[in-house]
């Protein structure tokens, strides 16, 4: 299969990832941080190594600020539900995923409200103005995607972070589509909470997610239970990362994630980003030449976007296009991509879009094959 559904999860994974997962299952499958026997200590070392790799990769203040979650959604829920209290207000962008919108909708029961700041593509000034205008005296948290999971457009997170600092508001970034794809450094941004998937641009297995806490204000933990630490104490430990990691962790996934990060480090993130962007531009330039193709963004480039392209074929439903591509052995995702707000912004809410997301494992010939299949689908439609 020619796989361009890397925005949902990357496939394939680097070989080292499956080897690491397998090693844990076959050699080191003890519960980390619970016991003193050699296998448990080895498991704890594997978990710590991944924490350290993530901490170094994102320039976090220390490894214990790296929290393992089951996916980006659970990291975002921890921040949203753990920070906001009755009467608080939040601001989100108009490109947010349901992982942000739905928890906020749920919190309306607690009189927690939110406003949507319209992202104006390619006009950072206007976007910043919209964030500023959406804040009020009750605003406690701004949650913003780093790049749209549908259209690939990057938001000006450094400037939004600076705005948050100025107003004493906490800032949470959803890096589901950017972690491992483009450089993020916590030491030169005002991000308080960085949430990400482990299984997308970081090439880990599914079932891995990460929350990096870059603030002295720690969200309330949503799950309480055994952590292997302070066991005599009935209340949840308040030390990081234990506070958020009750229950047995996904060690095979975490071991695989560690290898995913090593893979990116070996290749070089800037090199991978340039490679993937070149393929995205190849896609875009060729799609522009086809009359019946509708595109929604400017030509992607490293400054304003990540390698994600959304398109439609005139008078065809996006899901229908994806089905036909599937018959050619091509995997893409169509529809609303769990981001109805983004589709409302781009006026694609009625039919959705077909989304192409590039990974390190796509090639020029994948793009050529895709374009040839697409041309066949269009000619058969006529």
């Amino acid at each position: 299969m020619i796989y361009f559904d890397n925005g949902a999860t990357t496939f394939p994974k680097p070989r080292g990832v499956s080897v690491a997962v397998n090693n844990v299952l076959q050699k080191y499958g003890a519960n980390p941080g619970r016991s003193g026997h050699n296998m448990s200590l080895k498991s704890a070392e594997i978990m710590y190594e991944c924490r350290k790799n993530l901490s170094d990769f994102f320039n976090a203040s220390s490894p214990e600020n790296v929290i393992f979650t089951s996916n980006c959604t659970s990291a975002l829920n921890t921040v949203i539900e753990g920070i906001l209290k009755r009467g608080d207000h939040a601001v989100i962008s108009s490109l947010e995923h349901n992982a942000v919108v739905r928890p906020l909708e749920e919190l309306k029961e607690k009189e927690i409200t939110y406003s949507v700041a319209e992202c104006v593509p390619y006009d950072d000034e206007a976007t910043i103005d919209n964030f500023r205008n959406a804040m009020n005296e009750r605003t406690r948290l701004v949650i913003c995607t780093h790049a749209s999971n549908v259209f690939g457009i990057k938001l000006p997170i450094k400037r939004i972070g600076a705005l948050c600092r100025l107003h004493g508001v906490l800032f949470c970034v959803d890096a589901a589509q950017t972690a491992g794809v483009t450089n993020i450094s916590l030491d030169d941004t005002s991000i308080d909470y960085l949430c990400m998937s482990g299984h997308k641009g970081l090439y880990g297995p599914m079932g891995t997610g990460v929350l990096i806490i870059n603030s002295d204000i720690h969200p309330k933990s949503l799950i309480q239970g055994g952590t292997g630490s302070l066991s005599y104490q009935k209340s949840q430990p308040e030390i990081l990362p234990d506070m958020y990691e009750s229950g047995t962790p996904n060690l095979p996934g975490i071991a695989g994630l560690s290898e995913g990060i090593k893979f990116i480090n070996r290749c070089g993130i800037e090199k991978l980003e340039r490679y993937e962007m070149r393929l995205a531009q190849m896609f875009y330039d060729n799609l522009c030449k086809i009359n019946s193709i509708e595109l929604y963004t400017q030509r992607p480039d490293l400054i304003v976007s990540v390698p994600v392209i959304s398109f439609n074929i005139k008078d065809m439903d996006s899901e229908d296009v994806a089905d036909r591509l599937n018959k050619f052995g091509i995997a893409v995702r169509a529809g609303l991509h769990c981001a109805p707000l983004a589709h409302e912004s781009f006026d694609t809410i009625d039919r959705g879009t077909v989304r192409i997301v590039i990974s390190a494992f796509n090639t020029d010939s994948d793009v050529r094959y895709f374009l040839s299949a697409l041309n066949k689908i269009i000619s058969l439609k006529k």
Binding site: G33, L41, A44, K52, E64, G228, L230
Partner: protein, 75 residues
């Protein structure tokens, strides 16, 4: 008997401390905190044979919380 054990309440702190000490060329062995000391720290400890005071100071200077020190007969 002189102190040779530094105790932590989490394995993450213990491993991070061990790595810090390794960078400073101080050997430290990660172990489960011995049972008779567990009321003070149910977690993990570092067994340090040489340069104990220096090791403790490196750990504390890096902002890592310890739960105590002890002298143990460890073979």
């Amino acid at each position: 008997m002189e102190n040779n054990l530094i105790m932590f309440n989490s394995v993450t702190f213990a491993i991070r401390s061990r790595d810090l000490l390794k960078n400073n060329k101080i050997d430290a062995r990660l172990i489960r905190t011995p049972s008779h000391l567990r009321n003070r720290s149910c977690g993990y400890s570092l067994l340090i044979i040489n340069r104990f005071d220096e090791a403790k100071s490196i750990i504390l200077n890096n902002g890592i919380r310890i739960t105590g020190v002890a002298a143990v007969d460890f073979k």
